[in-house]
């Protein structure tokens, strides 16, 4: 797969069809993969592909990275789950489909955290999203690398995140409150979850608006709660469950739970799953007169 990938990258760069290839490369000690930005066809051999390629590179297509945008038309090495994020960015008008060349990678799963890698991909080191993945054969691409995957996800999504969401749902309101206050109390307001999220691309985040100060800046439980609730609210109907926020969290706040819960709510209420069709609008920017609810009196 790596060979095909490098050949394609070289061809794209040499023909001038793209100006930069965003992909994965090794770090210096070859223990992790790190994003690489290749502009010279001679450098394509730095591109790699393996289960350590967990990063969601679609982040680098957003307007947060103006210096990458300035390089010219990009090609991006993307797994199916990353392509879902690219699709959301397209539906939100961040760029057009033809503005990016998507090199889709067929994928057999990644590791949850790169430190867990022992040289072999086993189900217990894969995140919940990989066990339920329906985009192992990338769905929106210009070029596909790799053999077609025959994996079919289970009918009912299973895995740790779904179990924990169910468990929390069955608890009482005060138990849920205690759980989240305890989890959020560790938050240090580093905003890594925001920085790594391909869908948090506001040039001026609500946390930076201080007239009035919408989100309290110090890392105490009240400000932490309002930050984490706001972050989750801003991702309703958009989040694709790529899991980068939780992976990047230095204090391991289970953000996947809250994201997955909201994905479930959107699925139930609006019958919508984000990141599959670049022509459908995200649910929170449209409406239907027939929306059903039972709590507005």
């Amino acid at each position: 797969m790596e060979k095909t990938l490098r050949l394609k990258a070289k061809e794209l760069l040499e023909s001038g069809e793209v100006k930069v290839v965003i992909g994965y490369g090794w770090n210096r000690s070859k223990t992790r993969t790190t994003p690489v930005f290749i502009t010279d066809p001679a450098d394509v051999d730095t591109l790699v592909w393996n289960p350590l390629c967990v990063n969601n590179l679609s982040l680098y297509l957003t307007r947060k990275y103006k210096e990458i945008k300035a390089l010219g038309r990009p090609a991006i090495v993307a797994k199916g789950c990353d392509i879902r994020n690219i699709v959301v960015l397209i539906t939100e008008g961040q760029f057009k489909r033809e503005d990016v060349f998507i090199i889709g990678m067929t994928c057999n799963g990644t590791v949850y955290k790169q430190d867990l890698w022992k040289g072999e991909l086993t189900p217990n080191i894969m995140p919940t999203k990989c066990h339920n993945c329906d985009v192992r054969n990338p769905h929106v691409t210009d070029f596909v690398v790799g053999e077609k995957s025959t994996f079919t996800p289970p009918e009912v999504p299973t895995g740790m995140v779904y179990d924990k969401v169910k468990d929390l749902d069955s608890k009482s309101q005060s138990e849920r409150w205690a759980f989240w206050v305890k989890e959020f109390s560790r938050c240090v307001k580093c905003y890594a979850c925001r920085q790594v999220c391909p869908l948090c691309y506001c040039e001026r985040c609500i946390t930076e608006k201080n007239m009035p100060q919408w989100i309290e800046t110090s890392a105490h439980p009240r400000g932490n709660l309002s930050w984490n609730l706001t972050r989750a609210m801003h991702l309703v109907g958009r989040c694709t469950f790529c899991g980068e926020c939780e992976r990047s969290c230095p204090v391991n706040i289970p953000l996947n739970l809250i994201n997955q819960k909201m994905i479930g709510v959107v699925k139930e209420a609006f019958d919508f799953k984000s990141g599959y069709d670049e022509k459908t609008h995200p649910p929170m920017i449209v409406f239907s007169p027939d929306d059903k609810e039972n709590f507005i009196k």
Binding site: L168, D169, Q173, S174, E175, R176, W177, A178, F179, W180, V181, S185, I206, W214, E216, H220, P221, R222, L225, S226, L229, T230, A232, M233, V236, G237, I258, K261, M262, V265, V266, A269, F270, P283, M284, F287, S288, P289, D291, E293, F295, I296, K297
Partner: protein
Amino acid sequence: MSGHTEHSAPTGGYEPKIMAFVCNWCTYAGADLAGTSRMEYRPNVRIIKLPCTGRIDPLFIIKAFENGADGVLVSGCHPGDCHYTTGNYHARRRWIGFKHLMEFAGIDMRRLHFSWVSASEAIKWVDLINKVTDEIKALGPFMEYKGLKATEAEQG
């Protein structure tokens, strides 16, 4: 909340503070009708008028709780009646998400109410405020949320 309102509350026991975010065209007019019709209702509600329910950012509600509200009420035009044609439909979508999020985070949903009150429904408004106020009065102050700041002081 200013100190003024704090002291002007009746001294005979606990009185909840309730914030109402209402739209200019329906619920505010409904509340106004209740006033001009000289209907009496519980004085615990502080009304904030906004152009439309579509203008109500969920962060307003979080902010209200942060600043000491014991309950929040959000109200606007009935579906189909929006002055701006579609504002309340957008708001409804947002609330569906927000309500489930707040529920999942463990906020007591008896403290957060959503309703449609039209300009002619003064009686509905009065009943709603009375019901919500009594319910929240029975629950007591929202100590879980107010306590968040205190927790930090102890740790710090």
